[in-house]
């Protein structure tokens, strides 16, 4: 039996990973739930978020509070990009065959990630941790950096925020209605096109924010988008495509399976995660908390 403090540390690191995955996967799930498109390019929005945060930090110079400005800026830039892409291209795909949707979003991955390579090159970029959060403290013998603790608090806060918007605001009600029946909502006089754009913008912002927040913890490199999107898929499939809390649950499960998988079977932890996804798809294809598609 491993040392309990080690188990605790491992579990906290799994939780931290889960919060990032949640930020990315929630956008993916939102787009799928409402727009019915599986967006491969969502991982690329995340990567662009990280690059934008790096770029803003270069412009702003490190200093207290600057990182948050950069992260916010990155989320806004990615959100704007998402809005433009949705307006110009994405909206012609709604209701088309899955193959076209998948290949289109893959084409976006190619264009955007190569575009990022043109701008930022292939060298890895890193962002220094915000100076106000460089410390760490220990709980139960495990050391947790302050930055990670913040992520652990921010994740649920953002989840609650999005949940509140979806559940208790007018826009949120429209979004949930659009997920159920687009035509009826349109017939009732709601501008569904604009609503879809907003959903895409919000989802892109979540992805960009996830990328910006992870940039002080991991180096930003080309290829991080295709890697993360598969992880995000696993999360949404486990939790249920289109289910908000399902995504949260999926991220938690993924984080724990990954960090304990590394502990017990160091080499097969990614394998365990994909096996979990395949298992869920076989038994409950619509995910743990999702609803079957009609």
């Amino acid at each position: 039996m491993p040392d309990p403090s080690f188990v605790f540390a491992q579990s906290v690191s799994g939780l931290t990973a889960a919060m990032f995955l949640f930020l990315i996967a929630s956008g993916l799930s939102l787009i799928f739930g409402v727009l019915r498109v599986l967006n491969f390019a969502h991982g690329t929005f995340y990567m662009l978020g990280a690059y934008c945060a790096y770029q803003f930090m270069v412009w702003l110079q490190p200093g207290p509070g600057k990182f948050w400005l950069a992260a916010l800026g990155a989320a806004l830039v990615v959100a704007a990009l998402g809005g433009v892409i949705e307006r110009l291209l994405f909206r012609h795909l709604y209701g088309k065959e899955e193959l076209y949707q998948l290949l289109f979003t893959y084409a976006l991955v190619l264009v955007l990630s190569d575009g990022a390579k043109m701008i930022w090159g292939t060298q890895q970029k890193s962002v220094t941790r915000p100076p106000e959060l460089t410390g760490a403290f220990s709980v139960f013998g495990a050391t947790i950096p302050h930055y990670n603790l913040l992520i652990l608090l921010l994740g649920p806060a953002i989840a609650l925020g999005v949940w509140y918007v979806l559940q208790h605001t007018r826009v949120g009600r429209f979004i949930r209605a659009a997920a159920l029946d687009r035509e009826t909502l349109g017939a009732l006089g709601v501008n569904v096109n604009a609503l879809y754009t907003w959903v895409f913008v919000i989802a892109s912002a979540l992805g960009g924010l996830g990328g910006a927040l992870i940039s002080p913890m991991r180096a930003t490199v080309p290829g991080m988008d295709t890697e993360v999107i598969v992880e995000a898929f696993v999360v949404v499939v486990i939790g249920g495509l289109g289910s908000f809390w399902g995504t949260f649950l999926g991220a938690l499960i993924y984080g724990q399976v990954l960090s304990f998988g590394i502990l017990f079977f160091p080499r097969f932890s990614i394998y365990a995660v994909f096996a979990l996804m395949a298992g869920v798809l076989m038994i409950r294809p619509w995910g743990l908390l999702g609803r079957p598609l009609k």
């Binding site: 599986l38 291209l89 012609h92 065959e97 899955e98 193959l99 076209y100 998948l102 290949l103 289109f104 893959y106 084409a107 976006l108 991955v109 190619l110 264009v111 955007l112 990630s113 190569d114 575009g115 390579k117 043109m118 295709t226 598969v230 898929f233 696993v234 499939v237 495509l241 080499r267 097969f268 990614i270 394998y271 994909f274 096996a275 996804m277 395949a278 798809l281 076989m282 294809p285 619509w286 598609l293």
Partner: protein, 326 residues
């Protein structure tokens, strides 16, 4: 038109392909070999996507399994190519049977996701199982099949005197031609027609007493087996087998070829493979940003010519031969 259609195009194409090394350029032979293998890979996927209407996002898994099977057998166990090549098809088909059993129970997007999940499992195993697959580093130096017996023919004109890579190319052309012929027969058989029926209306097929799932599974296994054969050849051609053969981006590459050529037609995906590889070769000599160009082409294709190159050619042909009455 009718007279043109009666020409034995397949035989002609094989003869032309066999003449490529005679042009004297190693590079053209290399390109032709690449095209031939990818053409088989894309055609195998078309059986699933184009004929049966099942969008697999994990077809690279079977390509990878085939490549590792042939590679491992030939490199580590020194099994002759004659056995190692069919083994790629058998093993890939076997995995396709197991994975497909679960996949065909799901529909549409969930089918695509589950194929992706299985492919990622295959990739993860190839990536991590260092002892057998060489892990992240892959498995370099897969030997060529033994062409030593051909040395006796070295004085015979046309047959003798080629390099090993060229002998391998001839072997590839013949084997791939055989596979394509078999696939063509499958697509044109009553079984193939039934797959098209399922694509058009699975519910109706069910009504007339067709066991839809069993047909879909059979298509899945066949597609997997032929992808495995293509992978087996590719590992030798590439002089090495690497885990990214089974990575999800490979699956989308082959989907792009299928779409580029046109899914509605049998030869479309092969044309797509040809077009994409030639294009890649041309564009990478100008710019390193090939993915950017490919993505742009793909977006244009999806919005302007959803039928792919073959579809576009059909539209143009119908305009030329049957002009609309004014």
């Amino acid at each position: 038109m009718a007279r043109l259609a009666r020409l034995p195009w397949g035989v002609l194409l094989v003869v032309i392909a066999l003449l490529v090394p005679a042009a004297g350029s190693r590079f053209y032979t290399f390109l032709a070999n690449d095209v031939a293998i990818w053409a088989l890979f894309a055609t195998s996927l078309n059986l699933l996507v184009g004929y049966t209407g099942l969008v697999s996002f994990g077809h690279a898994a079977y390509f990878g399994i085939g490549a590792y099977t042939t590679g491992l057998l030939m490199k580590k166990l020194a099994v002759p190519f004659l056995l190692a090549f069919p083994a790629a098809g058998v093993l890939a088909g076997g995995f396709a049977l197991v994975f497909g059993f679960f996949c065909v129970r799901l529909t549409r997007i969930y089918f695509a996701m589950l194929t992706l999940a299985f492919a990622q499992i295959v990739w993860a195993i190839c990536f991590k199982w260092n002892e057998v697959t060489g892990g992240e580093q892959g498995m370099p130096e897969i030997p060529y099949p033994d062409f030593g017996w051909l040395d006796r023919l070295s004085s015979v004109p046309l047959i003798g005197g080629w390099r090993t890579a060229e002998y391998f190319y001839f072997l590839c052309v013949l084997l791939i031609a055989l596979c394509m012929w078999v696939l063509r027969r499958i697509a044109g058989s009553p079984f193939g027609r039934m797959l098209t029926t399922i694509r058009e209306n699975a519910e109706r097929a069910e009504f007339i007493g067709v066991n839809v799932r069993r047909y879909e599974l059979a298509a899945f296994v066949l597609a997997g087996a032929f992808a495995g054969l293509a992978g087996g050849l590719f590992g030798i051609f590439n002089r090495g087998v690497f885990p990214d053969f089974a990575y999800w981006t490979k699956s989308s590459e082959v989907l792009i070829m299928t779409l580029l050529g046109g899914m509605g037609t049998f030869y479309g995906p092969a044309i797509g493979a040809l077009a994409l590889i030639l294009l890649n070769q041309q564009i990478t000599s100008y710019t390193e940003y090939w993915p950017f160009v490919l993505g742009t082409i793909l977006i244009v294709l999806l919005f302007v010519f959803p039928g792919g190159l073959a579809g576009a050619a059909q539209i143009i042909a119908s305009r030329i031969w049957r002009p609309r009455r004014a």
